[in-house]
């Protein structure tokens, strides 16, 4: 369930915490395992992480369902997380989200048919002076316009 490579990455995180506090690494461990499994967590992968960190399955499930950055349904290869909070809203985020939805032919929360892209509306990403903005995977894109969005999205593969 957890690859050797993933275990190595998880071990790196475990080292940051005091002896016996390896469950501190659960948030990263879930991300690492998620990344290896189509960007998605399953009941079994959560249990596997819990077992690896020697914590109850339900405790790992609590974490996996509390935080936003875990997916429990199929998502695209690229996840566009579009901020729709106040500063971005004031700068036209809603129209741009609509634009993106039309362009991709999906609603927020859905995945494109080819499985390439999914779109999520999210709360403030802490880049409000660059509003409107979104995040694709690890990267922030700020001061978005419809044209800019087209360019960025067209570049995804």
């Amino acid at each position: 369930m957890i690859s050797d490579n993933a275990k190595k990455q998880i071990d790196h995180w475990i080292e940051k915490y005091p002896q016996g506090k390896q469950s501190s690494a659960v948030m990263e461990a879930l991300k690492i395992v998620q990344a290896e499994n189509d960007n998605q967590l399953t009941h079994d992968s959560i249990q596997a992480v819990a077992d690896y960190l020697n914590m109850p399955g339900i405790a790992a499930a609590e974490v996996a369902t509390f935080y936003e950055n875990y997916n429990h349904k199929p998502v695209g290869k690229h996840i566009i997380r579009f901020c729709h909070n106040i500063s971005c809203m004031l700068n036209g985020a809603d129209d741009l989200i609509a634009h993106l939805e039309t362009k991709l032919g999906v609603k927020t929360g859905e995945v494109t048919k080819d499985g390439l892209i999914s779109v999520k509306k999210v709360e403030c990403l802490g880049a409000c002076v660059g509003a409107p903005m979104f995040q694709i995977n690890d990267k922030y894109y700020e001061n978005l316009t419809a044209d800019k969005i087209d360019d960025i999205v067209d570049g995804l593969q």
Binding site: K16, Y17, P18, K21, S23, S24, A25, V26, M27, E28, L30, K31, L53, M55, A59, E62, V63, F66, Y67, E68, N69, Y70, R81, H84, N85, I86, S87, M89, L90, N91, E123, C124, L125, G126, A127, C128, V129, G130, A131, Q135, D138, K139, Y140
Partner: protein
């Protein structure tokens, strides 16, 4: 402008150790390693500086550090709060990206003062670029022999690690943050006990905001009085203001405390398209909204904003022009708190959803005549009754939007459409 956290902003590779050291960086830390400082001296400088916590609550940093039982047996921790998630706030991201060593040195100084030999910087999960910057800086500091156990063969040890969040605004609340580092859901703890007594892994812990820590090295270089003099009474120093919304040049500005709001607005290029200022949220989404009039007469410091009827908070200035529908704006904020409530305590779990649903109903044209009273009643029932301040944060905007812009809500309920947008 840009005298403390941002003083190297215009330099090449401003985040590098080299740049940092060239402007006096790590000089205090090196002095500490040479035994030239006592913890009390540092606390006194901090107290003189008037530095108040930049995470929102504005608690005097020197005082907070003095509360730590530094001589207590066993491990103690120092934790930096880089969870930055309050709508309108985006300053810590830039500190991490552009001046990570100031955060490291500030934490190191704190670790010495409080005898906390291990530190964590909790960085919000989405901040991958800032996280990488910070990790890079950590690596530099470790290789330069500035961090680790028994640094330079002294009895001073400090190990610092970055911890990444995974998407939850509530982890910015300091005890939720500690739970999160412990690998749990970010549910705030009840207080007392306070983290200074029972904190991370049950050990005494001090938590400060990124900007608070990043301000410490320069205070130590130039002296507490210098910092205090940069600002005004009760609000020492400079402050990073994230100015966003309907302005021409939205950005983070490090300016002296006490600057008139009107000047800050000018710095941000003035109102976009010359539109009329309608409202300002001066300290992040949790702080009460102000009318244009109140805002224009206000100075940007703790007392000044307080007098105007709001709070400095995290210094996140959200500017709204007269095209803004206040019903829509409040609904968006209400959705945020509804979405981000951790759910453990009854008033917040049940109340934030109630507030949002009533507002949504009004937006959907199904508002009822007594909805305004209902909203006021619900926010009042949340206020003060919850474990952490998210409850209050969810309540406050509702009260202030309704107080300052009540007619817009009445109009929306009656006409089933926005007074502003039609």
């Amino acid at each position: 402008m840009n005298e403390v956290c941002f003083k190297n902003l215009d330099k090449d590779q401003c985040w590098s150790l080299e740049t940092y050291e060239a402007s006096g960086g790590y000089s205090t830390w090196r002095k500490i390693l040479k035994g030239e400082y006592t913890p009390d001296q540092i606390i006194n400088e901090l107290k003189a500086s008037g530095l108040r916590g930049r995470g929102g609550a504005g608690f005097p940093t020197g005082l907070k550090w003095s509360f730590m039982p530094r001589n207590a047996q066993g491990q103690k921790y120092i934790v930096c709060n880089s969870d930055e998630g309050e709508p309108g706030t985006c300053k810590d991201r830039d500190i991490l990206r552009f001046n990570p060593h100031a955060v490291i040195e500030g934490m190191a100084i704190g670790s010495f003062v409080m005898n906390a030999t291990v530190g964590y910087n909790y960085i919000r999960g989405e901040f991958i670029e800032p996280f990488n910057r910070f990790e890079g800086a950590l690596k530099e500091a470790y290789s330069a022999g500035l961090l680790g156990k028994n640094i330079n063969d002294t009895d001073v040890s400090f190990d610092l690690h970055a911890h990444l969040g995974a998407g939850a605004y509530i982890c910015g609340e300091e005890t939720a943050l500690l739970e999160s580092i412990e690998g749990k859901k970010g549910q705030p703890r009840f207080k007392p006990p306070f983290p200074a007594n029972v904190g991370l892994f049950g050990r005494p812990t001090t938590i400060n905001n990124t900007e608070s820590f990043a301000s410490v090295p320069d205070i130590m270089i130039n002296g507490g009085q210098w910092f205090a003099d940069l600002g005004v009474e009760n609000s020492g120093g400079t402050k990073l203001f994230s100015v966003s919304g309907h302005v021409n040049n939205p950005a983070n500005f490090e300016v002296s405390m006490g600057m008139p709001f009107s000047e800050l607005l000018e710095l941000a290029g003035g109102m976009r398209n010359g539109a009329k200022l309608k409202a300002v949220i001066p300290g992040g989404s949790s702080t009460p909204v102000l009318t244009a009039e109140a805002a224009m007469g206000m100075t940007m410091d703790y007392d000044g904003i307080d007098k105007a009827g709001s709070m400095l908070g995290a210094g996140s200035v959200i500017v709204m022009d007269d095209s803004t529908c206040m019903v829509e704006a409040l609904t968006r904020l209400a959705h945020f708190y509804y979405d981000e409530s951790c759910g453990q305590c009854t008033p917040c779990r049940e109340g934030t959803g109630w507030l949002y649903r009533v507002l949504k109903r009004i937006m959907d044209g199904k508002g009822k005549a007594d909805d305004i009273e209902l909203l006021l009643g619900v926010q009042e029932k949340i206020m003060g009754n919850t474990i952490c301040a998210l409850g209050d944060a969810a309540a406050m905007p509702v009260e202030s939007f309704l107080r300052n812009f009540r007619e817009e809500f009445e109009y929306y309920i009656e006409h089933k459409k926005s007074m502003v947008k039609g």
